[in-house]
């Protein structure tokens, strides 16, 4: 961060940002400051989460230099006015002389000013770059119409499906055509999915795909945790969508491959050191041939163990250990912002996952 945040009126923000950059030096000066923007990122949340969010952004900006909007809704603030601050994040980019900086605009307001927030943000959005909106879905009603207006502004919305009042319904909505919401945990689990896909890279492993008759997904922690069930369901939905399975919501077995019904089970596993609660830590696919392919995440530093066992239960291959850990929020958001075109994969996963989630969630 540079300088001290300057309190000013929303209509003065652009002017203040220009003055800030002029003060720091021109773009083309060697050793000076480059002001760079790949997108607009809007965060909406409450005051108690701002510090943590700022920490995430400080890691994020080197992956995705952007104009950040921190929309801080405070229950302690009354009246319909909006207080605003501007600041910047700077980092040294490889291969670039001087610093690369991006801007942070904080708008602080009370509930009475919510209806004016979109009007304050809209003129400040930088043109010709995508806009991402990240918010906590725990209490969407808390933000009233402002939430819908901000969602309408964005090209992509990131939130946490598991925190929605009805996660299964929320997941279903994300699968609808034109929907632009993705769950943050989807991105965080990208490395694990990557390794699961890697299990089937080799030809004879790939041939087993068509013969899978049972899946077991292990999550760290209790099965009472909605996040855990959501993570597991989305992973299963992803796997099912990749293999072209179909869903039969009325049948005993929800998923069906070309070969027949696939039994799916979610189990609870004690979280090891370095594993976050609710993370998917175990994937096991049982084939009708008797083979079993599994991936076990053993911790953030220890990596994961991949195994392929044969009909007699003994290992056919030497277990391989690879790094597989959930991404941090900053890493996940950076990936999301840099890969907006991957959204359809999530939607396909969500379409298969929500019936599963609906079944496993306690009523």
């Amino acid at each position: 961060m540079i300088g001290f945040p300057v309190s000013l009126s929303p209509s003065d923000i652009e002017h203040e940002l220009t003055a800030m950059w002029n003060q720091r030096g021109g773009k083309d000066e060697p050793g000076g400051v480059t002001h760079y923007t790949l997108g607009n990122v809007i965060w909406l949340g409450s005051t108690r989460h701002v510090t943590r969010t700022r920490r995430i952004f400080s890691e994020l900006v080197s992956r995705f230099p952007c104009r950040l909007f921190l929309l801080e809704c405070s229950d302690d603030t009354s009246g319909s006015s909006i207080e605003s601050f501007v600041n910047a994040y700077c980092f040294a980019a490889k291969g670039h002389e001087g610093e690369v900086c991006c801007e942070e605009i904080t708008l602080r307001f009370g509930r009475d000013a919510l209806r004016h927030v979109t009007g304050a943000v809209l003129p400040l959005l930088i043109a010709d770059v995508p806009t991402f909106f990240w918010y906590s879905s725990a209490d969407p009603g808390h933000y009233g119409e402002a939430l819908e207006q901000l969602i309408a502004l964005a090209d992509r919305v990131i939130t946490e499906v598991a925190h929605m009042p009805d996660p299964a319904a929320g997941l279903r909505r994300t699968a609808e055509p034109g929907a632009k919401t993705t769950s943050l945990s989807w991105y965080r689990s990208h490395p694990v999915r990557d390794h699961i896909a890697g299990l089937f890279d080799e030809r004879d492993s790939m041939e087993r795909l068509a013969s899978i008759e049972r899946l077991q997904i292990g999550v760290a922690g209790s099965l009472k945790e909605v996040q855990a069930l959501t993570n597991a369901s989305v992973l299963i939905g992803w796997f099912a969508s990749r293999l072209g399975w179909r869903v039969d919501a009325g049948a005993e077995h929800l998923f069906h491959s070309e070969q027949g019904p696939v039994a799916v089970e979610v189990v609870s596993i004690d979280a090891g050191i370095g594993m976050s609660q609710s993370q998917v830590v175990h994937f096991e696919a049982h084939c009708s041939t008797g083979d079993c392919l599994s991936l076990i995440v053993t911790g953030t530093k220890g990596g994961a163990e991949r195994r392929v066992t044969g009909p007699c239960g003994t290992c056919r291959e030497t277990p391989r250990f690879v790094h597989a850990r959930e991404w941090t929020e900053a890493e996940a958001l950076g990936f999301a912002f840099n890969s907006p075109h991957r959204h359809e994969i999530f939607q396909q996963a969500a379409a298969m996952a929500w019936p599963m989630l609906k079944r496993v969630l306690p009523t």
């Binding site: 209509s11 209806r115 979109t118 009007g119 003129p123």
Partner: protein, 503 residues
């Protein structure tokens, strides 16, 4: 080396000198021209108004106006005083013969005392209803010199609006041309004086790489936007309610920008060659039928909303606006230019009041590549190349294109090459009125509109108004202040992938 433009000794008569335009734009522009050496050693400015002012009072007022609105600080108070000493005041009424006879006497007196040759530039910075009577009385008072290669010259600068519709524009033209020859008439559109507007010509015709692409084969669509965040400031509602967005902005500023973007290359940049091509372009736009008006235009009126974090009132609540007003504060058009170059390329034009920000730009959106070589790599379809000419603010030009993001996979990222006036040139750009006033003084009509241009623009606009009068009135207001206009405007883009650009 280009010669510096310097006007001949002359007298500049500003009708309506006590008005807002003279204060904020004209006198500060003349001051900057003087201090930059574009005005001759000998010149005089005569302000005409009905107020009970004197020379001293006018100088005092204009001094304050210059200090407040000039783009540059005077080097010294003496510099300002020297300029102000050239300013004189003539009291009068724009519709009284005696006032113009007095003006004539005053002009002759000043020209004699200041040893001026009699060249006169008349600037009508008044309400449009005074254009015709004022020029008629100028003629009657014999203060206009006829066109002559030998004697002093006389020119008239006339502000928009040039009429209210086609018929009134033609009538006004007839009346004004009763006093002045067409070659003496300079119809001002200040957008043509903007640095970036003129840069469109430089960009298109001084560079060989763009012209071969400037046609329907490579360009999918063009969007021209003039967005204003202001509403009716002060008493402006009274005039605006009789005009609306189409008359106030589209008929002049937007059409001028459209002409520069879409016209054929002129043989030279002399006034007639340039304006010939603009008229040719306007003639390629056929006035719409009522059915086309219904499908290719959208109008809107802003209601209450929120801008920059504060509530703002709706148009009908503005001062001096009819509470039941049906005047449009927003207009969006889809135009077709029917010539070989542009056949099939839609030109989307929009303008509005109380939009989220003040911004004017032209976006030229190119077609997708004819063949997507990246399909086998499962790479998302590349975004279209977009050339953006930003007229205001943050004047400049940018070109966006696809580049490979560093990494082992072929991931594309849209990136932008950016030219900004503010950073690329050390000298600040002159104000539009400085350029236009100077061109009026030296007799260069390139940046002024010709009668046939005005006529043709009104033909197109009048057809839209006719269509609107036949169609049911939209349910006004239909967009909230602080938003990008009515949702209905999106239907104009039914056959293109992009929507309206968010500026």
């Amino acid at each position: 080396m280009l010669a510096r433009k310097v006007a001949e000794p002359c007298t500049i008569v500003v009708f309506g000198v006590t008005g807002d335009l003279a204060r904020r734009k004209l006198l500060p522009a003349l001051f900057n021209l003087a201090r930059d050496g574009h005005l001759p050693q000998s010149f005089a400015i005569v302000g005409f108004s009905r107020r009970e002012w004197t020379d001293e009072k006018l100088r005092e007022e204009m001094g304050a106006a210059i200090r407040e609105h000039s783009r540059s600080e005077p080097d010294s108070e003496r510099e300002t005083e020297d300029f102000l000493s050239r300013i004189y005041y003539a009291k009068g009424e724009l519709d009284k013969t005696e006032s113009f006879l007095n003006l004539k006497a005053r002009l002759e007196e000043i020209e004699k005392t200041d040893r001026l040759p009699g060249n006169r530039l008349f600037y009508l910075a008044t309400a449009p209803e005074f254009f015709a009577p004022a020029t008629e009385l100028m003629k009657a008072a014999k203060i206009i010199h006829p066109v002559s290669s030998a004697g002093p010259w006389a020119r008239l600068i006339i502000e928009k609006p040039f009429g209210h519709d086609l018929e009134s524009a033609r009538q006004l033209n007839t009346q004004v041309r009763g006093a002045f020859n067409e070659s003496q008439i300079y119809r001002i559109d200040h957008y043509l004086g903007k640095e970036t507007t003129q840069n469109i010509l430089a960009f298109r015709f001084a560079n060989s790489i763009f012209e071969p692409l400037w046609n329907s084969r490579y360009i999918e669509q063009v969007q021209i936007t003039v967005a204003e965040s202001l509403g009716m400031e002060g008493r402006r509602g009274q005039y605006y309610d009789t005009a609306g967005a189409l008359r106030d902005m589209v008929q002049n500023h937007l059409f001028q920008v459209l002409c520069l973007i879409a016209m054929e290359a002129p043989a030279s940049l002399d006034a007639e060659s340039l304006r010939d091509e603009k008229v040719r372009l306007l003639r390629a736009i056929r006035p719409m039928t009522p059915q086309e008006v219904a499908s290719c235009t959208v109008r809107g009126q802003y209601g209450p909303g929120s801008l920059n974090g504060a509530p703002v009132k709706g148009y009908r609540e503005e001062e001096l606006v009819d509470p039941d007003s049906t005047t449009e504060t927003y207009a969006a058009l889809r135009l077709a230019v029917r010539n070989w170059r542009w056949r099939g390329v839609p030109f989307f034009i929009r303008t509005g009041k109380r939009l989220p920000k003040r911004a004017s730009e032209v976006a030229v959106i190119f077609r997708h590549p004819p063949h997507q070589v990246f399909e086998d790599l499962s790479v998302e379809e590349a975004r279209q190349n977009v050339l953006v000419i930003r007229i205001q603010p943050d004047e400049g030009i940018s070109l966006s294109f696809e580049a490979k993001r560093p990494g082992l996979k072929m991931n594309l990222q849209n990136v932008k090459m950016d030219f900004r006036y503010g950073r690329s040139f050390g000298t600040p750009a002159p104000e539009a009125y400085e350029r236009l006033l100077l061109d009026g003084l030296i007799g260069d009509a390139s940046l002024f509109t010709r009668a046939d241009e005005v006529d043709r623009a009104w033909e197109i606009i009048s057809a839209i108004h006719a269509g609107w009068s036949e169609a049911p009135l939209p349910d006004f207001p239909n967009y909230a202040a602080g938003t990008w206009g009515p949702e209905e405007a999106n239907r104009l883009m039914h056959d293109v992938d992009t929507g309206w650009r968010r500026l």
